[in-house]
């Protein structure tokens, strides 16, 4: 009996853990847009990526490393996934666990890309990856793969 209860409890925990790990917020651009214009003293590092995008996947650890190194400072890393297709949340969850990425991830599901690419940054023409770093009105945009040192330098410059 005891064994059975223990088993049920661990099963419940296992299920809730699995469910929790697959819980991503899916947004359209209108819902995501305010995140690019927050006027507080946090520096936001927002990266557009997808699991199938090779340069994106290569630079993911750099963002994770930034998240960790600036953990006690007012720096927020947000990974905006453009993945789509069957079981996207499940695949994302498995991928992030495997790569040990713990930064916040949201899914951007807004297939009229021409309507929002320019709102992320004037200079962005829609090629992945892309990264916006901003604090209040100061802003820097990368339309390419970035390194840890580029990210760190930009964040430090914005906080000088």
């Amino acid at each position: 009996m005891k064994m059975k209860i223990l088993f049920s409890i661990s099963l419940l925990i296992a299920i809730s853990l699995t469910v929790k790990s697959q819980d991503f917020t899916t947004l359209n651009f209108k819902e995501l847009e305010p995140t690019f214009h927050l006027q507080n003293d946090t520096t936001y590092v927002i990266n557009f990526w997808a699991m199938w995008c090779k340069p994106c996947v290569e630079e993911l650890p750099e963002f994770e490393y930034i998240r960790k190194s600036y953990e006690n400072k007012k720096v927020k890393v947000l990974l905006v996934s453009l993945d789509f297709g069957a079981k996207v949340e499940e695949r994302l969850s498995r991928f992030l666990t495997k790569k040990n990425i713990n930064a916040e991830v949201v899914i951007l599901d807004d297939p009229d890309a021409n309507s929002w690419i320019g709102k992320v940054d004037d200079k962005w023409d829609g090629a992945l990856p892309a990264t916006v770093i901003y604090k209040k009105k100061q802003r820097k945009f990368f339309a390419r793969k970035v390194t840890y040192s580029e990210l760190a330098e930009t964040i430090d410059n914005l906080n000088r």
Partner: protein, 200 residues
Amino acid sequence: MMKKILFLSFLLISAVAIHAQGYKVGDSATDFKLKNIDGKHISLADYKDAKGFVVIFTCNHCPYAVAYEDRIIDIDKKYKKKGFPVIAINPNDPAVVPGDSFEGMQKRAKEKAFTFPYLFDAKQEVYKNFGATKTPHVYILSKNGKDLKVEYIGTIDNNYKDASKVSTKYVEDAINSLLMNKKPEVTYTKAIGCSIKTKG
């Protein structure tokens, strides 16, 4: 003398910088010669009767490109006979993305029964001339004698995910206008896509 050299280098650098940005709508495009999946080399000049071209930088591996494959075939079927054939070009370096090799292109073209040429930009020069930055990336050209003019740059339509939910077909609208000897209403859009893969 030194000043002159400096000035000339400045001019040269600016010219290179302008060049690197690629075509804008209204620019003249330069013809190219690239190898098709059947091994033959193709130039736009080969198409004596064409009124223009739908040049699409695309590839095998990119999910956006894959999502648009059937729509690209449909555009070719619909507009080739009206004088605007699709010319697809893979700009990626297979050393970076093995799936985008010439053999990979042949395989994909066969699987999907592409109705258009699928050319390999092996030296990665043509995409730079155009200023393409991702796949898929469309350039519609009109032909007047030997002159090729860039009429539209951007995305195919307004829903990369679901063809049945498209409400604006930018490419088709632009060709329809050109067929009526009108300027397209929308000449530039931003296309989402996979960055073109190069070494370095």
